[in-house]
């Protein structure tokens, strides 16, 4: 099966692709620090817009970044809700009573059911989800039908809204930064960059080269192992295992029937791989030359200088404003 892609690398030729992975990793770390130092909403929006300009210049489609945000959407939603509900500073902008009665709850449940049934036909799933939430809230707020057996108060402050927005932007920036790195750097180059950056660790007896080799072998074998796991699952399904059903006790046996073959095959594989590596003159710890080398260019130096400067600037701004 060819439908497994490791990493998100998409080929391209902009300056982001020509940069040394080391400078990209360093710049990522430096900018993350800056993002955490900044506390002002305007400043962080400036940073986001700079990032958007870089994306444009670097020829990365915004769609890919949005895709990168998808896995953390739940996280974003919860952070937002928590911030809105629990920060009680600034002006009150919304203060509504929520009526919990038999009828309003029934209506709300109806809305949820309607959403669950219809969501698969709607293309904009996130907006549709938000619409559902707004719909439920407005039922509780504006349709006080029936005798409420409980009442709640929904109070939103400007501070809460600001804080929520701020945290969202910060998270978006961090995800965007790491997405840029993984989109424009091949996994092999990323490993090599990490290896070089971790080299100083040799002082404390950590071999960066070995770590890099482990990562690259892991990268190489992930598709193979996934494919194999799939085949083992099919083989056990052919013996009547129904992975969708079963009591807890059955589930345990089902998982064992997958894991044992996986382990045994992987051990055999690693044994044979070790033989193949040794036969090709690999000796752990010995010096090796490398096919791929990294070249540090002026653009990398410039990037590091600029991103490094953002930290003191951010500290300065914070001190001045704070």
């Amino acid at each position: 099966m060819n439908n497994i892609v490791i990493g998100q690398y998409i080929p391209g030729s902009s300056f982001l692709y020509k940069m040394d992975p080391r400078s990209k990793i360093l710049a990522l770390i430096l900018l993350m620090v800056t993002t955490f130092v900044l506390t002002d909403i305007i400043q962080i929006l400036v940073l986001l817009s700079v990032l958007l300009v870089i994306l444009k210049l670097g020829g990365i489609p915004i769609g890919r970044i949005v895709k990168g945000l998808r896995p953390i959407i739940v996280l974003l939603f919860f952070t937002f809700t928590f911030q809105v509900l629990f920060i009680k500073t600034g002006r009150i902008i919304l203060d509504e009573t929520l009526h919990y009665s038999f009828y309003t709850i029934l209506l709300a449940v109806g809305v949820v059911l309607f959403w669950m049934i219809t969501k698969r036909f709607i293309k904009f799933k996130i907006s549709y989800f938000l619409m559902m939430i707004v719909g439920i809230l407005s039922i509780f707020m504006y349709y006080p039908i029936g005798d409420p057996f409980a009442q709640g108060q929904l109070v939103i402050y400007t501070g809460g809204l600001q804080g929520a927005f701020f945290i969202m932007v910060r998270l978006i920036i961090i995800v965007t930064l790491s997405t840029i790195l993984t989109l424009t750097t091949k996994p092999t180059d990323l490993t090599l960059g990490l290896e070089q950056l971790l080299k100083p660790l040799s002082i404390i007896k950590v071999s960066a080269e070995e770590i890099a080799l482990i990562i690259s072998i892991a990268l190489r074998y992930i598709p193979t192992l996934l494919d194999e796991a799939n085949k083992i699952m099919l083989a056990q399904a052919s013996r009547g295992v129904d992975f969708k059903e079963g009591k807890l006790k059955d589930k345990v046996v089902q998982i064992i029937s997958l894991l044992v073959p996986m382990f045994i095959i992987s051990f055999k594989r690693s044994d044979e791989l070790a033989n193949a590596m040794e036969a090709r003159n690999f000796v752990p710890g010995n010096r090796r030359t490398r096919l791929h080398i990294l070249t540090w260019q002026t653009i990398d130096t410039i990037t590091i200088i600029i991103t490094a400067i953002t930290i003191p600037v951010a500290i300065l701004l914070r001190v001045m404003l704070g």
Binding site: S216, R220, L273, M277, A279, N281, R290, L291, I293
Partner: protein
């Protein structure tokens, strides 16, 4: 040249995997090592490249007696292609995999790139250099493994059942490379139970239950009905018919010659 003298080997769980095996393989020869699963033939290959250590006896490669100190020197002379295409592909991409052995030997970068181009072309993988292993067929992976070994420029290449997991197309490709390498003057050892592979070689070594049964020129082994009967080798139909006609006393030189010729083709 490889000399194996009185070599014996045991695993913990299994005694007498190899029992007092001795033979010599001359430079530039193509030798098939045949035998059933469990006859010790793959163990023999691992002993020659020093992945296992013989319990008794000695192995000499190009005048170097194999031991713990010389094993790295020996591995520079002997390359080995293993059975499972997936379990010997070290690199993330084709080019990384071809480079792996050369990186270990500390070749310069220029030399590595030059050789990747040269040997990828020789095995017909030059258009796949940046492909990842899961995008390749088994036969293509084996070709990459061969390129990686050619790039290290070893004089001796061992194929340890390298074709047994391939489909007929993949197998024929690898057989063609073996013939090509033989013409380039490499010493080739193929460990196999495929007679189509064995008939192409110069010599046959037949192992049975860890013991050397026969070691002779291929043609001589195929001619000799007594040896063949003892050996349990799986004969191709042309050779079976050849011997049947010979035994039946049918005198038809022309047919016999024709069948003999057929027997030596893959």
């Amino acid at each position: 040249m490889i000399t194996v003298e009185h070599v014996s080997f045991d695993y913990h769980s299994q005694p007498d995997v190899l029992k007092d095996v001795s033979f010599t393989i001359d430079k530039g020869r193509w030798v098939s090592i045949l035998g059933h699963n469990g006859s010790g033939k793959s163990t023999l290959a691992k002993l020659i490249v020093g992945l296992l250590k013989a319990k008794e006896g000695s192995i000499t490669v190009d005048g170097i007696v194999l031991n713990e100190e010389t094993v790295y020197q020996v591995r520079k002379k002997v390359g080995i292609v293993f059975q499972n295409p997936d379990n010997q592909f070290v690199g993330v991409t084709v080019e990384d995999d071809i480079a792996f052995g050369m990186e270990n030997l500390c070749f310069t970068r220029e030399e590595i790139t030059k050789r990747i181009d040269k040997y990828a072309k020789q095995v017909g993988m030059e258009d796949y250099l940046s492909k990842e292993p899961h995008q390749l067929s088994g036969g293509q992976k084996q070709r990459v493994a061969i390129a990686g070994i050619l790039a290290m420029d070893t004089d001796i290449i061992i194929f340890d059942e390298a074709t047994s997991m391939l489909d007929p197309i993949g197998r024929d490709e690898i057989l063609a490379f073996m013939q090509q390498l033989k013409h380039q003057g490499k010493t080739i050892i193929t460990i196999t139970h495929d007679m189509k592979e064995a008939v192409l070689s110069d010599e046959i070594i037949d192992l049975k239950e860890g013991q050397l049964l026969t070691h002779d020129k291929t043609k001589k082994v195929l001619q000799d009905k007594v040896t063949l009967n003892k050996s349990n080798l799986e004969l191709l139909p042309s050779l079976k018919l050849y011997h049947k006609i010979k035994e039946a006393g049918i005198v038809n030189e022309e047919l016999r010659d024709y069948l003999w010729q057929l027997s030596l083709q893959k």
